[in-house]
Symmetry: C2
């Protein structure tokens, strides 16, 4: 049985292998992705983002327990900048998540996404494809990093949860810019902290001020570490998903496709170009640039021009 068939049967090993292929981004990946593509697009994707230390992973872990009651075919991807520096945290997450990893229906994986070529939308979209093909009905995308790209990708989920912690008032101020447009619901985690009430008031006041064109997203209070409030959060999330117009869901999925497609095109073109550049000549150019006898912009134009002629 080939990899595609095994993925379609939902084999955890095959899913893992599929996602590894996506990370490696080689020719094999494309064959697999093409084969599974007709079987994709039928999950509910929930994006979870928020500042570091806000308890996103623990919250995701607790959310799984809630979602499982409805449907245990769940996939989780932690979008991971793959830094040696986050290794510790991710290790911790993995251990924490192990209580679900005994459940064969639940697939948990952190994924390295930052290659030199190939963007985040492509990598995330492809990982979602693998999970969808394997029959997952709910997919949680958790950002480990907090870069703009991560936020952009997460916002194409069917539902976006933004996790905040009380007592970081200046952070909330800084959120003003992009955050209101991203969140379908806010999660005020560590809500047992003494600052929680003030933080909630501050957040709501901010939302009242900032949001003009659509409904103010609900603010859910949780203590992820004990699971407190996570049932209410899931009820809220389900309510939001139910009342979301089909057109809106389609719009988000199409945006993700658009990003993926642009990433795929950029990656393919760049790979072709770089594979066709003569390596010895390239090194000579670097030497000339290093000696400031030319500049990288002229060289880049020259190389591109030269390739056009071939």
């Amino acid at each position: 049985m080939n990899l595609t068939e095994e993925i379609l049967k939902g084999s955890p090993r095959a899913i893992a292998k599929g996602i590894s292929l996506v990370e490696d981004d080689g020719a094999k990946a494309q064959d697999m992705l093409r084969a599974i593509f007709p079987h994709t697009g039928r999950s509910t994707v929930i994006g979870i983002t928020g500042s570091p230390g806000s308890g996103k992973s623990t919250l995701a872990d607790q959310l799984i327990s809630q979602i499982k009651k409805e449907d245990s075919r769940i996939g989780i991807i932690a979008v991971d900048p793959s830094s040696p520096f986050t290794g510790g945290a991710i290790l911790g997450d993995r251990i924490r998540m192990m209580r679900h990893s005994l459940d064969p229906d639940i697939f948990i994986r952190s994924m390295a996404t930052r290659g030199h070529l190939g963007g985040l939308a492509k990598a995330t979209g492809e990982a979602i494809s693998v999970l969808e093909a394997a029959g997952k009905r709910y997919i949680l995308i958790e950002t480990v990093g907090v870069g703009q790209d991560e936020v952009e990708v997460v916002k194409m989920s069917d539902l976006v949860l933004v996790v905040l912690i009380p007592g970081t008032g200046d952070e909330i101020q800084a959120f003003k810019a992009g955050i209101m447009e991203i969140a379908d619901a806010f999660v005020l985690n560590k809500a047992d902290s003494p600052d929680a009430l003030r933080a909630e008031r501050q957040l709501k006041a901010m939302l009242d001020l900032g949001i003009k064109n659509h409904d103010i997203p609900p603010v859910c209070k949780t203590v992820a570490i004990t699971g407190e409030g996570v049932d209410d959060l899931w009820t809220t999330a389900q309510g939001l998903l139910l009342k979301r117009p089909e057109a809106d869901r389609a719009f988000r999925k199409k945006r993700l496709i658009e990003w993926m497609l642009r990433d795929i095109i950029s990656t393919k073109v760049a790979q072709t170009v770089h594979s066709r550049v003569d390596e010895a000549e390239f090194q000579r150019f670097i030497e000339l640039i290093y000696k400031r006898k030319t500049d990288p912009y002229v060289v880049a134009d020259g190389i591109i021009e030269q390739l056009k002629g071939t």
Copy 2:
């Protein structure tokens, strides 16, 4: 007087404008960068990276005080994934760094680097170019994010400082993979913590085990918030810089040029391709992909093929 001339004169306003142009990545940026390029390549670049909360910014701030004694023409770039979520921290850093910002020779800036097109090497390399053209002799590159790309770029600095904090043993374990190759020196910050001695021993034991092919990097202890140990750190750093073979420095600078050049080529080619794609047709493809009547890989190949013929 035009922007290039003003940058070459070291005007802080012109530097700021130059770096903004780099962030925007338009045609104007390239003209400016080409004009300043002959005046670049003559600074000592110090990269500072480390886990979040390790005190990198405070350390950078204290390092400036030390470097200033030798040469006050200093530039600092905080490579910033430009997330709304890091806004708070960066704001804090900026305020903290204000004591130096009164010094007209010292230029401090955090820079957004994650566009959909254009990589980190390009953005960082170009910012370094602007600062070098403006006469900066020492350039500190501090990573705000901790992604693999940031680490890759930082490791092309003339000197790489990796900042660690005591009491994060599991993190140190996770460091094993990439960290030893990156660091020219380790900074054990918050060295007044009760865990400091144990952390130092652990780190040294780990380095003894892991490093076979070259000298074990020194471990400097600092308390960035009070400045303790930062003078010794700077002495160590200067020693390392002095004894570094010219060939090694050249190698790192050429690697950065190579990355920049690859980024520039990828960006230019991708921009050209995307600008030539017919928007209405592109949207029709997205619709077809959304309906699973085709897949993004076939569409990407088709678009690329079609453009080749034009």
